[in-house]
């Protein structure tokens, strides 16, 4: 059955809101147990076993990230970044084993200590249907500035 576009859009918007509002536990709950979360460094695609990534995390590593952010002593998020993003240009494909592949773009503004930073890029999600919603089995974020100096990407992307 082809995925319901409205349902997919709602899921991505919800994920964006959870990231914008630093709702760490709710965002973490979106991932499957075999999840992979990937933000390449220097280039848009490569073998992550042969090249360093900005983020290359399985579920336990994502949990470490969340534990840290919730600790109150993750100083790179003290004060927290104020974040607002727009998710758009959503394209939906059928993936394997009932998964849904979703391509999207985002524009994100992060304000911290009077400095506004802009990030933009493309995301690919592999969503696994579960009940009336989805879980994220895979998420890859291709930043247009992945080969530039980035001072602080410790909020959720």
């Amino acid at each position: 059955m082809p995925a319901d576009r409205h349902q997919v859009e709602n899921f991505l918007y919800r994920e964006a809101r959870l990231m914008d509002t630093h709702a760490y536990d709710e965002w973490f709950a979106l991932w499957t147990d075999d999840a992979l979360y990937w933000i390449p460094s220097n280039d848009d695609d490569f073998d992550p076993q042969r090249h360093v990534s900005i983020v290359y995390e399985n579920k336990p590593r994502i949990e470490d990230r969340i534990t840290r952010l919730k600790s109150g002593v993750a100083f790179a998020q003290d004060p927290k970044s104020r974040v607002s993003r727009v998710v758009a240009n959503i394209e939906i494909e059928e993936g394997e084993n009932g998964e849904i592949i979703v391509h999207s773009t985002f524009n994100l503004t992060a304000l911290r200590r009077s400095h506004m930073d802009t990030f933009a890029g493309r995301a690919t999600h592999k969503l696994r249907p579960e009940g009336n919603s989805f879980r994220i089995a895979y998420k890859k974020v291709v930043l247009i500035n992945n080969d530039e100096v980035i001072n602080n990407l410790t909020f959720l992307v």
Binding site: S41, R50, V52, V55, R61, S71, D78, D147, V149, N151
Partner: protein, 443 residues
């Protein structure tokens, strides 16, 4: 001779304290670029980044951009990125492979060894024009140790070999000889991040054994949760780990006494690596049991090669000043040649967990540097204190100063070298005109 500074640096660097102006004064910053980055030895890159003739990387020495390129004869060259005609930058991209650097402005082209190959419409130059006078200018001195490529923009001065000395080379060996074929492979890309504060905060912090239990508690908590390993006792004031100052601004955190006390054999092999045996066997075959044990237990080093190179574990860290209150930091996780792929993948994943712009450790350091720079605006008392362990140091036979790991032996060593270079110009006279090509390769 060195231009006389109107700044009396002795007033700013005392034995047990430094004045905040060393981090905030734009004039001091300009003099640092000239006296430290444009004269002394500066790390540029690793030879394994450019294995094939024509491979190049665009790098900086202070504010000057240089092309690190392997020429057609296989030699590593450091060429200034500036056309000898009208100063256009001849290389636009950070990495690649080429058989020539061609200036787009008027069409001059240069070989990978810098030689001027082609001059467009040459007939209108006077008869005295000699192509050989207009090769790309070279970094006057190039020194290489175990693939680590250093340059000096001064044509004269101590050789790299003499400057590093046996103790620093010994530390570099600990990093490179974790490979059973004795070769690093710096091909895994780079993390690039920065911060809005002075560059010296990063080199000092890299050698600060006092901060980890405070700044990095989230990291240690996660490690303990995942592995049961408690790392915090490494950085207490009762830890057997040490600080060392070898002179010349070469300082380190020495974890060996801690590792030996813990009998933490094979630290270099990540516990998650399943195929340890082939690697360990290859190490013993190459180095013998004693040296292999030392290498695997020590697992690299934790050293500052003043002013811009830090070696920590698997990582090459390069510190690049941008402005008095802006800095960039490039981190290159390294691979070992001749090991099972799993070992190198574990090096990558370990690096990513702490480092990079989204990492769970170093980003908190950057935050500390920015808080430092903010704090410096308050100047009723302008001094920063560096007195930990002062007067309690011991001395190795070769003069190396040794303190406890939370002592500021390392910071004092950095500032001693900084003051020396800012006041005496060390052994290195001011840059001269010319296209020096002296090359020396350290042992």
């Amino acid at each position: 001779m060195k231009k006389q500074s109107v700044i009396d640096y002795n007033e700013f660097v005392k034995e047990d304290r430094i004045h905040g102006r060393v981090y905030t004064d734009p004039q001091i910053y300009e003099e640092e670029l000239e006296n430290i980055f444009h004269r002394g030895w500066v790390y540029v890159g690793h030879a394994s980044e450019i294995p094939t003739p024509g491979d190049f990387r665009l790098r900086r020495m202070g504010r000057q951009t240089v092309i690190m390129v392997r020429d057609e004869d296989g030699q590593v060259q450091l060429l200034l990125n500036r056309c000898t005609h009208r100063a256009n930058a001849v290389c636009q991209v950070e990495r690649g492979n080429t058989n020539a650097f061609r200036c787009a402005y008027h069409g001059w082209s240069f070989g990978t060894n810098g030689e001027l190959k082609g001059v467009s419409y040459r007939d209108r130059y006077p008869a005295s024009f000699q192509k050989a006078d207009y090769n790309l200018r070279k970094v006057p001195r190039v020194g290489i140790y175990r693939g680590f490529v250093f340059g000096s923009l001064s044509p004269v001065g101590l050789s790299l070999d003499d400057h590093l000395g046996p103790r620093v080379k010994e530390q570099i060996d600990l990093v490179v000889d974790l490979s059973p074929v004795g070769e690093l492979d710096v091909t895994a890309g780079v993390h690039k991040y920065g911060y809005r504060a002075n560059w010296k905060f990063q080199i000092e912090n890299s050698m600060d054994g006092y901060h980890p239990n405070f700044v990095h508690q989230t990291f240690f908590t996660n490690i303990q949760h995942r592995t049961g390993r408690k790392l915090t006792d490494l950085f207490t004031s009762s830890s057997p780990a040490q600080t060392r100052d070898f002179g010349n601004g070469y300082v380190m955190l020495d974890f060996r006494p801690y590792n030996n006390a813990k009998s933490s054999l094979w630290r270099a092999v990540n516990p998650e690596v399943r195929q340890k045996e082939p690697y360990i066997e290859a190490m013993i075959t190459r180095y013998g049991t004693e040296r292999a044990t030392e290498l695997l237990t020590t697992a690299g080093t934790h050293i500052l090669v003043f002013p811009n190179l830090v070696l920590i574990g698997v990582q090459i860290r390069v510190i690049q000043p941008i402005k008095v209150d802006e800095t960039e930091v490039f981190l290159y996780p390294t691979f070992l040649q001749g090991v099972p792929e799993e070992v190198n993948v574990a090096r990558l994943r370990g690096h990513e967990s702490f480092y990079g712009p989204a990492g769970g450790g170093a980003t908190d350091d950057l935050e500390m540097f920015e808080r430092n720079q903010m704090g410096l605006r308050s100047q009723v008392d302008p001094w920063l204190l560096l007195a930990r362990g002062l007067g309690q140091e011991t001395q190795d036979e070769d003069g190396t100063l040794v303190g406890q790991v939370t002592d500021e032996v390392t910071q004092r060593g950095i500032w001693r070298q900084w003051k020396k270079m800012m006041t005496q110009g060390t052994d290195v006279p001011a840059r001269r005109r010319g296209n020096g090509t002296a090359r020396q390769v350290a042992q």
